[in-house]
């Protein structure tokens, strides 16, 4: 399912879907409160957040040097390192590794970067079956759907939806019991884990100092993918680094707490290299594919800080816009506040320049971010880029309106007069304290929301009255 081109159209579709809105509201509230409970179990949680932030910022500040050191460690540890500038290059590299390994089937653990490159399609075009093994991603794949949340990919589906697709695609009797559905997936995917020649994973953190790849999962598919097949390919964005193992601990302390409300995920896997000569199992080859795909451009722009994101999804759950429209409306892999910054960076302002406007700039995202990214500031910076490069439409009426407002607002007597006139006009349109239609240029505002009726006195009038009561002049 490809998204439709226009953000406004996608938002309308999402708003019309009552089930989606209920499911997203429930999931985001639940994840949000689990996060709070989990952070309460960490002594000095704010100090850990600052420490994790410092670690990630250090890694991306001198990103080129860090990548070179990381690469050198990986090679010393016995891994093969590949660099890809574009999704196509990354897919070709992985397809070549697969062909060389004689792989017919590849098992994948969750990797947002592989969604970015559409790796599954590329492998299938080469005759290699690619199987998603994270339960949510597996169901997404069966439905030919798209994930709607970074850590809860099928938050938009009911158990009945899941039961139906398993029944249709896997020829099993229909059930909507989540435990039974999970065990059907376990049996089916277990077979794939044992026969696959290639395991493909993402990477949560790459440790520069040691060349360690850190992967976190709850289901155990990350361990399967990195242990069972003969060849393991890890695909990672070039920004996924932390300087040291001590820094890794800082990030792990806040990641699971912010994402699912766990102290730590069930499985935290540190891959250092292919199996040693005396190991009884594990992959014989380890390949690491480092993907740029626009990240170096982000590093040079106004939103470099977003490269420190650890993809926990907490900002999605906190965002009033995400909570209303869900993930698909954002139109690409990364939804929510982080997506509104990353997607225009990776895919260009021309197609996704409207996303930075999908925010009220309330700051809830900055509040919950485990590494305290200043998301509102970056959204504003991107809005500025959109206007400067004319990639976001800014109609003449808007420009003229803002100019007029600036002229009025810098002339106090005229401003006071105009404010009073507008207040009287608005009060006349109000019904039970709300205005649901405005005339002329202002009609756009009330098309999707109501406007609160103005109070009888303005702030300036109240202030002057107060100063008079207190016996001083303003």
């Amino acid at each position: 399912m490809e998204p439709s081109g226009d953000f406004a159209v996608r938002v309308k579709e999402a708003l019309a879907d009552a089930h989606l809105r209920a499911a997203v509201t429930q999931a985001t509230s639940q994840l949000g409160s689990r996060r709070l409970l989990a952070l309460a179990t960490l002594d000095e949680a704010d100090a850990w957040r600052d420490a994790a932030r410092a670690a990630k910022l250090d890694a991306i500040r001198t990103l080129a040097d860090n990548l070179e050191k990381f690469e050198a460690r990986l090679i010393a540890n016995g891994a093969q390192v590949h660099w890809a500038e574009t999704p196509d290059q990354a897919n070709r590299i992985i397809a070549t590794i697969a062909e060389r390994a004689g792989a017919r089937c590849a098992v994948k653990s969750k990797s947002m970067v592989s969604e970015e490159t559409h790796l599954n399609d590329a492998l299938e075009a080469c005759g290699i079956e690619a199987v998603e093994t994270d339960l949510g991603e597996y169901i997404v794949q069966l439905r030919r759907d798209r994930p709607s949340h970074i850590i809860a990919p099928i938050v938009h589906l009911t158990r009945a939806d899941v039961g139906k697709v398993m029944h249709e695609r896997l020829q099993v009797p229909y059930t909507d019991d989540p435990k039974e559905l999970a065990s059907i997936a376990r049996r089916k995917l277990r077979h794939d884990f044992l026969r696959a020649d290639l395991g493909i994973s993402g990477v949560n953190f790459g440790v520069v100092e040691t060349g360690t790849l850190c992967l976190v999962t709850n289901e155990g598919n990350g361990r399967m993918v990195t242990s069972m097949p003969r060849v393991h390919v890890a695909l990672m964005g070039i920004e996924k680094l932390v300087p040291t193992m001590a820094d890794l601990e800082k990030c792990l302390k806040v990641l699971a707490r912010s994402a699912t409300g766990q102290k730590i995920t069930v499985y935290t896997t540190l891959v250092r290299g292919p199996r040693g000569p005396q190991d009884s199992d594990g992959p014989e080859e380890l390949h690491v594919v480092l993907l740029d795909n626009g990240r170096s451009d982000i590093r040079g722009g106004d939103t470099a800080e977003i490269l420190a994101c650890i993809r926990c999804g907490a900002c999605l759950n906190a965002c009033p816009v995400f909570r209303t429209i869900g993930g698909h409306a954002y139109g690409d892999i990364y939804p929510g506040p982080v997506g509104a910054i990353v997607t225009p960076g990776l895919r260009g302002m021309a197609a996704f320049g409207e996303l930075p406007h999908a925010s009220s700039l309330c700051g809830a995202c900055r509040e919950v971010c485990p590494v305290r990214l200043d998301i509102p500031k970056m959204l504003l910076a991107l809005r500025g880029v959109g206007v400067k490069t004319r990639t976001v439409p800014s109609p003449l009426s808007l420009k003229a309106g803002l100019k007029l407002f600036a002229w009025v607002a810098s002339r106090p007597p005229i401003y006071r007069f105009a404010a009073r006139a507008v207040r009287f006009a608005l009060a006349a349109r109000a019904r039970r304290g709300w205005i649901s239609t405005l005339p002329g240029l202002a009609a756009g505002w009330t098309r999707s929301r109501d406007f609160k009726a103005p109070p009888s006195k303005s702030f300036q009038e109240l202030w002057q009255a107060r100063q008079r009561r207190n016996g001083s002049t303003p």
Partner: protein, 207 residues
């Protein structure tokens, strides 16, 4: 120009224009460093209970062995090689599969028996390093994972574990922290145990 060179060049140029904020280092709590062995065991037990892991604390080698025999019964077992298992547990089950057994046979085992290279009190995690005689499959394929932990292997935190075992972790191809049974909440946020890894974890702590 190779992809590598052009990516690195582009980043170096970008580093001159794009601003990355600075963050002053913060003072992290050191309380965990003062924890005693008894504190660690208490905390470990509380965390395992919250995770739904059965815990047995035994005071002698014999008690560990009889506990394991009682837990395993006659179930098919996949285990670490005898040399890697503590308290001479390795000889208890002559029928046990090991890392040398074929993959399909390993996959049919019902209980996986492993030791633990370390354990972490504050999260209830088992630390398993890959290496000689220690197949990863034993803690991954069977539906039940039975881990035997020496009391001295307990660390207060992950940081303490990284520091104490830095060399061993750096030598191992793979180091896994196992924290409770495999789980998912992908379908309507309903908690379900035992998706791909073991749905039950049992820990026996010995002297």
């Amino acid at each position: 120009m190779s992809a590598r060179a052009s990516i690195l060049n582009r980043i170096r140029r970008a580093e001159r224009t794009g601003h990355v904020p600075t963050q002053a280092p913060s003072a992290l709590p050191l309380a965990a460093a003062q924890a005693s062995g008894a504190d660690n065991l208490r905390r470990f037990a509380a965390e395992l209970q919250a995770l739904g892991v059965d815990l047995f604390i035994e005071d002698s080698d014999d008690a560990v062995r009889s506990r394991i025999v009682a837990l395993v019964g006659s179930h098919p077992v996949l285990q670490w090689d005898a040399a890697a298992l503590p308290y001479d547990v390795g000889g208890l089950f002559p029928w046990a599969l090991t890392g040398k057994s074929p993959r399909d046979a390993q996959a049919s085992a019902e209980i996986g028996i492993t030791g633990a290279d370390a354990a972490i009190a504050e999260t209830g995690s088992l630390v398993l390093l890959s290496g000689k005689d220690k197949p990863r499959a034993a803690s991954l394929l069977p539906p039940t994972h039975l881990a035997i932990v020496r009391r001295s292997a307990l660390c207060a935190s992950m940081g303490e574990c990284f520091a104490a075992h830095a060399d061993a972790i750096a030598r191992a191809a793979c180091c896994t922290f196992v924290t409770g049974p495999s789980r998912t909440a992908d379908i309507e946020l309903t908690l379900t145990l035992g998706v791909h890894g073991p749905g039950a974890v049992i820990v026996v702590v010995g002297p």
